[in-house]
Symmetry: C2
C-alpha cells in the first residue's frame, strides 16, 4: 500500500449563516482551496463530501456535494456523499485515504459541510435527535413535537449523565469543566475562523445557566454552520503540487458495539488501532483535537485515547499540560466549545487545525515542534455507544 | 488489483410501510441475508449503507446504517452511510468493490434502504425536491409550501419535458410509452417482491390520468419503501462461503457536467467507461435493469448506454427484444414502474435482480443463458444533468 497525504486545507469562518445552505458554504471552502493551491480542477479525480444534519435545516437532501461543486469546474468524476453524523468528514477522509493508498487515484478532494443553526431552534434539535435510533427514542420525538422547551437530548440526557458519573468516579470538579471551557476559549481567541473568540473566566462559565447538572451553557458546544475542504493526494502527485505535505498516518473508523454493553469503549479500541496503523504511541502525539461537544467529553476522550491516564485528565488540565504552550495542547483551535460545532463539518475543522499546525501555519497559536497530530470525532448514539467513531493521525 | 464478487443478495418485498423506518426495513433485509448465507457476522469487515430520502419521512438522519445493524451482531467495524440520491446503493457498492479489489477487506456488506412513501404526499415531494439544487429551485420550494397540489417536480417538469422532446425527435409515440409500462408490469407479475403485480393493457395505461403531457400516471414510478442487502467478497473468501459468485465486472460512478451543457450525456460517458472496465461491449449484455423512473427514461437509457441505436428503442420495444424471452430483456424485475421506486433502495433492487438472474434464481422470469447483466441508476439533478450516475456490470 502507498501513502496518502493532505496537501492543503481550507475552511470558512464558523458561525451562524441563517440565509445560506450547507452546499453554499461548501462552495466557498472549495473555492478557497482551489485558489490557495492553484491546482487545476481537472487534476481532481474524485470527491468525498461529508455532511450530516443540514438537510433538516436547508432542505438539500441527496446530493449536497454535487451542488457545492456545480460551479467549481470539478465535474465528470465520482462524487460520494458520506454521512456518519459528526464523524462524517473523517469517514470521508478515510475512504479518500484508502483510495489513494490503493493507487486508485492520485488526487482527490474531501469536503466537510453542515448546518446546525436554525432560527427555529426546534429544527436543530430535531436534526440532532435523528442521530439516535429514532424508533427507540420515540418519546423524545414526541417531546420535540410539543410546545415545551426545545432541549438537546445530547446535552440534557447523555452528556449530563456521563458528566455526573465522571465527576463522581474521578474526583474531577465542576470547576475542571469550567477550566476546559476557559482553556478552549483562550485558544479560540487566537483563531480567526472560530465562532466565539472573546476570552472568559471560570467564574463566568460557572455562573452561566444550568443546562442539566453539572453542565452549564458555556460547557456545551453551540449550534454552528461551517465548511472545509482538503486536497488529498499520493506522494508523487504531492511533489508536483509543490505544497507542504502532511501524511495521513492513520485513519480509523469504527462503530460501537451496542449489543455488548460498554465494557470496551469504542474510542479506546479505535485509538489502539490507529496507533498501531501509525506505528506510534500516545506519547508521540504533539497536539490533539478531540470532540468536546461538552466539556466533560474532552476529559473522557483524552483518557480513552490514552493521552492521559484514566481519571487523570484533571491533572493535565490543572497543570496546563493541555493548554497552548503545555506538553500536549488539546483543542488548540478552540474545540467544539468555542470554534463551534457544525455537525459533519466539525471533524473537518479538527483536521484543518492539525494540517495548519503541522504546516507551521498556526500563527499566534502555533504549537512548537508539532510533528504528530491526532483528531477524534464521535458521531451519533446507538444504545449509548457512539454509532461512529473516527481517529485520524496526521504526521509531517 | 484483485476482483470483487457478490456472493448473495436479499431484499424485502417492496411496497408501502407507513409504520416502519428505513432502518427497520434494512434490518429485515440484513437478517434475511445472514440467514440465507449462514455467514458468521464476525466475517463482515465493513458495511456500506446507501440511503437518500427517508430522513424526511422517518426522521432518522445521520446513522441509518448503524441503527439497521444494531441488533445484527455486526459491530466494531467501519460503517459508512452513503448518499447519492437514487444512485446511493451502486455508489456504496462501488466503494465496497474498490476496497475488496485493493485487498483491504475479504468480505463486506452493502445495504440499500429508503422510504419515499408518506401518508402526507407533500413530505415525499419535499424529499424528492431535495435531490435538486434547492437554492436555484427555490420557486418550487415555495410551491410545495403552499396549499396547491403536491406534484412531482421530476415527473411534471423534468421527465414530461424530455418525453415531449424524445417523442418529437425519434418518432416514438405515447403508445410506446404505454408499451414500456405494460412490459414492465408483466415482468413484475412474475416477481414476488415487486410492488405492483397485476398485469395491465396499453389501453389502461393510455386511459390513466395525465400527469403532464405526454406522461400519464401509469407511465410514472410510484412512491415506495424498500431495502436490500448484499454480501460482497474477494474470490478467496467467496470460495470458503461456498456460494455461487457473481463478479462485479465494472462499477462506475460519475457526476454530471452542469457547466458544460448536455452535449455529452453523463450516462453515455459512464457506460463507455464501464464497458472498458469490464472489457466487453454493449452486445455482450444479456439483460439490463435501467432507471425507468418514467417510461421515457427506459427508452433514453438503453440508447445512451448503447443497448439500442439512437432513436431505435421503439423498434426493440415493438419487436419484443426488451421483453422477457427477447434478445435483451430490460427491467425483468418490473423496473421502477412496477417493482417500485424507494429512492436509494432502487439501485439495490436492480442489483438484486441481476444477481438472482446470474445465479439462475430468476424463477418464472429467468433469462436463459444470462451471463452478463448491466444496471443503471441516475440520481439527483443539478442544472438538468444527473448529479450522480452509476453503471454496474455483473458477470457470472
Amino acid at each position: 500500500m502507498g501513502k496518502a497525504y493532505i496537501a492543503a486545507a481550507s475552511m470558512i469562518p464558523f458561525g451562524k449563516y441563517p440565509d445560506r445552505t450547507a452546499s453554499d458554504l461548501g462552495r466557498e471552502a472549495i473555492g478557497s482551496l482551489l485558489e490557495e493551491t492553484g491546482i487545476e480542477t481537472s487534476a481532481i479525480e474524485a470527491v468525498y463530501a461529508g455532511r450530516a444534519f443540514s438537510s433538516h435545516i436547508d432542505g438539500q437532501v441527496a446530493v449536497p456535494g454535487q451542488v457545492a461543486l456545480a460551479a467549481s469546474g470539478i465535474c465528470d468524476v465520482p462524487v460520494f456523499n458520506i454521512d456518519n453524523a459528526c464523524a462524517a468528514c473523517p469517514s470521508a477522509l478515510h475512504l479518500a485515504t484508502q483510495a489513494i493508498r490503493a493507487g486508485q487515484y492520485e488526487a482527490v478532494m474531501v469536503i466537510g459541510m453542515d448546518k446546525l443553526y436554525a432560527t427555529d431552534r426546534r429544527r436543530s434539535m430535531r436534526a440532532l435527535f435523528g442521530a439516535m435510533d429514532v424508533e427507540k427514542m420515540a418519546w423524545m420525538s414526541e417531546a420535540l413535537d410539543g410546545d415545551g422547551k426545545a432541549g438537546s437530548i445530547f446535552m440534557e440526557h447523555y452528556y449530563a449523565r456521563i458528566a455526573r458519573e465522571y465527576l463522581k468516579n474521578t474526583g474531577a470538579t465542576e470547576r475542571d469543566l469550567a477550566r476546559i471551557a476557559v482553556k478552549n476559549r483562550k485558544h479560540a481567541s487566537l483563531n480567526a475562523v472560530a465562532q466565539y473568540r472573546k476570552p472568559m473566566t471560570e467564574e463566568e462559565v460557572l455562573a452561566s445557566p444550568v443546562v442539566a447538572e453539572p453542565l452549564r451553557t458555556l460547557m456545551c458546544s453551540p449550534l454552528t454552520d461551517g465548511a472545509a475542504a482538503f486536497l488529498v493526494c499520493s506522494e508523487n502527485a504531492g511533489k508536483t503540487f509543490g505544497l507542504p505535505l502532511v501524511e495521513v498516518a492513520a485513519s480509523v473508523v469504527r462503530s460501537g458495539m451496542p449489543q455488548r454493553g460498554t465494557a470496551d469503549p469504542v474510542l479506546a479500541r479505535a485509538s489502539a488501532r490507529a496507533f498501531e496503523e501509525a506505528s506510534i504511541g500516545p506519547e508521540d502525539v504533539d497536539l490533539a483535537e478531540v470532540h468536546d461537544a461538552s466539556a466533560v467529553a474532552e476529559m473522557i476522550a483524552i483518557e480513552e485515547i490514552g493521552l492521559a491516564p484514566a481519571g487523570e485528565a484533571k491533572r493535565l488540565l490543572r497543570d496546563g499540560d493541555t493548554a497552548l504552550g503545555g506538553r500536549i495542547p488539546v483543542n488548540s483551535s478552540g474545540g467544539l466549545l468555542s470554534r463551534g460545532h457544525p455537525g459533519a463539518a466539525t471533524g473537518a475543522a479538527q483536521l484543518v487545525e492539525l494540517v495548519w499546525q503541522l504546516q507551521e501555519r498556526g500563527g499566534d497559536r502555533q504549537v512548537e515542534k508539532a510533528r504528530v497530530g491526532l483528531a477524534q470525532s464521535s458521531g451519533g448514539l446507538v444504545a449509548d455507544e457512539a454509532a461512529a467513531t473516527a481517529i485520524t493521525i496526521l504526521r509531517r
